[in-house]
Symmetry: C2
Amino acid sequence: MTTRISRHCRATRLFLQPVLVYISRMEYKKRTVTCGDLRAEHAGMPVVLNGWVHRNRDHGGIHFINLRDRYGITQVVVDQDAPEATRHLAESLKMEFCVAITGTVRRRPDSMINPDMQTGEIEVAATGIQILSSCEVLPFMIDEETETREDLRLQYRYLDLRSFGMQHRIALRNQVSFRVREYLQNQGFYEIETPTMIKSTPEGARDFLVPSRLNPGSFYALPQSPQLYKQLLMVSGFDRYFQLAHCFRDEDARGDRQPEHTQIDMEMSFVSRDDVFAVTEGLMGHVFRSTLDIELPARFPRLSYHEAMNRFGSDKPDLRFEMELQDFTSFAAGSGFGVFESVAESGGSIKLLVVPGGAGYSRKQITELEDVAKTYHAKGLAFAKVTAEGLESGIGKFFTDKAAEIKAAFGATEGDLLLFVADSWKVACTALGAVRTRLGTQLELIPANTFAFAWVVDFPLFEWDDELQKWEPAHHMFTMPRAEYLETMEQDPGAVKGDLYDLVCNGYEMASGSIRVHNPELQQRIFDIVGFPREEAEERFGFLLKAFRYGAPPHGGIAPGLDRLLMVMTGTPTIREVIAFPKNTQGISPMDESPSPIDADQLRDLGLMPLPREDATGQT
Amino acid sequence: MTTRISRHCRATRLFLQPVLVYISRMEYKKRTVTCGDLRAEHAGMPVVLNGWVHRNRDHGGIHFINLRDRYGITQVVVDQDAPEATRHLAESLKMEFCVAITGTVRRRPDSMINPDMQTGEIEVAATGIQILSSCEVLPFMIDEETETREDLRLQYRYLDLRSFGMQHRIALRNQVSFRVREYLQNQGFYEIETPTMIKSTPEGARDFLVPSRLNPGSFYALPQSPQLYKQLLMVSGFDRYFQLAHCFRDEDARGDRQPEHTQIDMEMSFVSRDDVFAVTEGLMGHVFRSTLDIELPARFPRLSYHEAMNRFGSDKPDLRFEMELQDFTSFAAGSGFGVFESVAESGGSIKLLVVPGGAGYSRKQITELEDVAKTYHAKGLAFAKVTAEGLESGIGKFFTDKAAEIKAAFGATEGDLLLFVADSWKVACTALGAVRTRLGTQLELIPANTFAFAWVVDFPLFEWDDELQKWEPAHHMFTMPRAEYLETMEQDPGAVKGDLYDLVCNGYEMASGSIRVHNPELQQRIFDIVGFPREEAEERFGFLLKAFRYGAPPHGGIAPGLDRLLMVMTGTPTIREVIAFPKNTQGISPMDESPSPIDADQLRDLGLMPLPREDATGQT
């Protein structure tokens, strides 16, 4: 359909001209039906339609106008029987004019019935046309998304949003949001609004700041998440909280980031990880069933962080296809291949990927894959080709005597390609995992319309920072250690697994959450392990730590990203495609040109002035 | 109930002491039921409850613990049959400790059944207690709201939120929000999120500003409302939009203002005022029916602005009681009372309020009412008392000969008090309207649990500004004039009625809305009448005006305030009572002490520095 519309758009563009016929739209005929309503049974009914001119074809003096609104498209016919003035107006209608059409529904001749259109059985014979608004020459053809620069689409977002794609995605976002609320309400969650202007407690990303005019020199921050407030709601006894919360991060311009995004923020009291999982699984099941008519598994598989890395080379594995990483380390010793031998001896890992039918890969193709591995800090990507005789090319020669054993151990058969990364366990897994992901797409291993959810659990709580020579929180400091590590946490911080978890789907992290520390003494032990100063804790989180001294319940939660969820559901490459009015990667809205300079008075009222140029950092 | 709990709180406070018994809460007994679940039929069932110690009474060595959670209160009994350790722990339980109780449900003896409690038929005989969190000495007794300074409540908001009142109001807010969404979804509205960081286009109030680090010297604004964006969504063809939108206004500290509030923001295409009214009436009907079980009228009465002022002395009249203002102007001439005569001659109005049974009012009581009138710019409040003989006291003597006629004309009878304000029509109405409102409360004319909704319509579009000697927009510049004024708007701007409307209830403005101008030429005519410079229009609203050149549909909307709605529904005096984490009147959150100073580095990164003290305005 897109193609046909596009062709039409180009054609009509040729005859766009200044609007001559333009009536007052103050007293206009209001619609009696929408453009998606009419069926064969309505034949004979007088109707008024309001909508946009989607196409207007002239076939020998008869005008066929496709009139569009949110609900559908209805074909309007202005033929010889129409009043003279109406026929004249029909000629002047250009693309995207907003009009009111008066007419009568009639069945189309059998040969003209369009089974692809909901209203394809009928047409409306026009007896009157009112132009409600004219339309200037379009900056781009609506529905030709791929040909249009994104910044131009964002500049004319109100036109871009008329496209079928954007209409569908925004409609789906609305449905998903409502179904989320419906499900969580039914599960006894209260949606509670937390403040947008809060105390600045930067962690991870930078806070956006809001200067206070009433309290000069003081600033609010926009929340990176409602984390502290939702925990306070648990202290307040609200038991089950959620919010479709707007979150803000002042990050550097890169990739698919937005200064604001929405998360399905949830928190529950008196729960374990399993309770959080059950609610989240139920939520996703309800959303996919009610909006996409897709049945997800009742329970999602669980992988430990170690297993996810080891088998898929990622803490957000794409489980839509197999082709798992395997461990080749035990074959290194005695092979004579020095790189492998030294890695194995120093406690590193050699990870292997068997690429089915990959023996035919050219040197260039393999180099491309090696570049992927190197992006993830691998020093190289070794390979060997599996032949009937054994292993050839690359490092095959080091393993000729063990070829049969290797083929059996790793399930490789003639025509396969073996790819190896030897490095520290984490680098070997991550780099070969990235190669796996690339091959998944390249080899078309990924089935369409499949959503492979899983839980990744048992992340380490602390990581040793070589540079600082101290333990650092692997995620953040408010996660409960798994119960079995509580007694001995200080003795071996590196072994401690935290009660935190990620929900992943199709290679994306969809949500992150944890069971929280609710006990001030335990919190202090964690602060002590990572050397977080008491004064700073008091300064930044004091109000939360204080609240925990007044009967705080055990609690935990999770926060699926709504934008990410919609992006995965619609298969679009960026979250900008599922946000009505996004910013570009520079944090700019080309439509309204925000951010923008302000009056000197406004700044002065805030007790601020621009930093003189020579003092400014990062701006020179 | 409050009183009994309070007494208990004071008592327990005396024996608060350092917690001695404190077990690990890492592996705790998770609840099998909530504190609101158990009934007689559960007798014999072993259960685990998690919750807060609401009260703990010791009756001869038997502990009666009222355990509370969001769902209710369950009585736990620790008697002689309980294990020694459990009995010992029961003794140590202070108010608001968070605990896990293991035990068995049993029917209460008939004499102990409490029909006022949902769980009043049963109690739980405890066999085990775990302390999950202890609680320090409470800063105030929960549920004794009236005795606690508001700033102390806000400082410990997490404790204040445990009170029955706050729990109820936040729960109701959640229900109302969901019912709003449910209704509007069913009416075909899409909830669409508009950006929180937008272009600054200050109008009315000041914008809160957010400095951009990536674009130094440029600022985002937080939206005072999503007005421009929702209109753009209509241009995009979304047809019916709503959003529970967070709105921000940087206003001076006064009264019942919050820097952020929530509105039920709605916009519809191809509609007239009547369509907006029907949706709003349906919405309010659904909300009140589903949350308070109150049936509102299917249609709300409509008053013109003039009628509302004339009859009730307010553009947000309280229609829960009658006692309407009446017009006394025609009685002024020839009365000999100079004040009335000169007001009537100069085209002013004399408004009259008949106060039933008010003849007994003391001079002091009348002076208090006069002070109310003067607050609203009246020069005074004249009065007369209705006796069997005629009119006495105050200005009665000027009207003795017309007493009978006056009594008949205004429905006054012996024992009533007549109150008069003579001034310009608007001042006379407003001042006497304020007196009416005061008397409505004072005379207890206002029935409880009544919600008197009405529409106020036909507001003037332009007002003459004596100081500037020009026409100013009475509300804003984007409202469509009523159709009958379109041709002649420029000839008599003062006569033009706008297609804007207010929803009022119980003396509050609940919502404001209008049919918008969607036609660039008409918009320009309005800018011209109020002398709004084209360049400024282009600078501030250019992107909206540009969008209107691309086939904008006729559209209109409304935006009921969610906080105000909840305040009226719950009969609380401020919106702070229906917001989980409000700011105080100075825009400060005493709990987290926001807004707060930031690091010099953070400010420097934004390209800003504090204004030197001597340059600062409004801060000296």
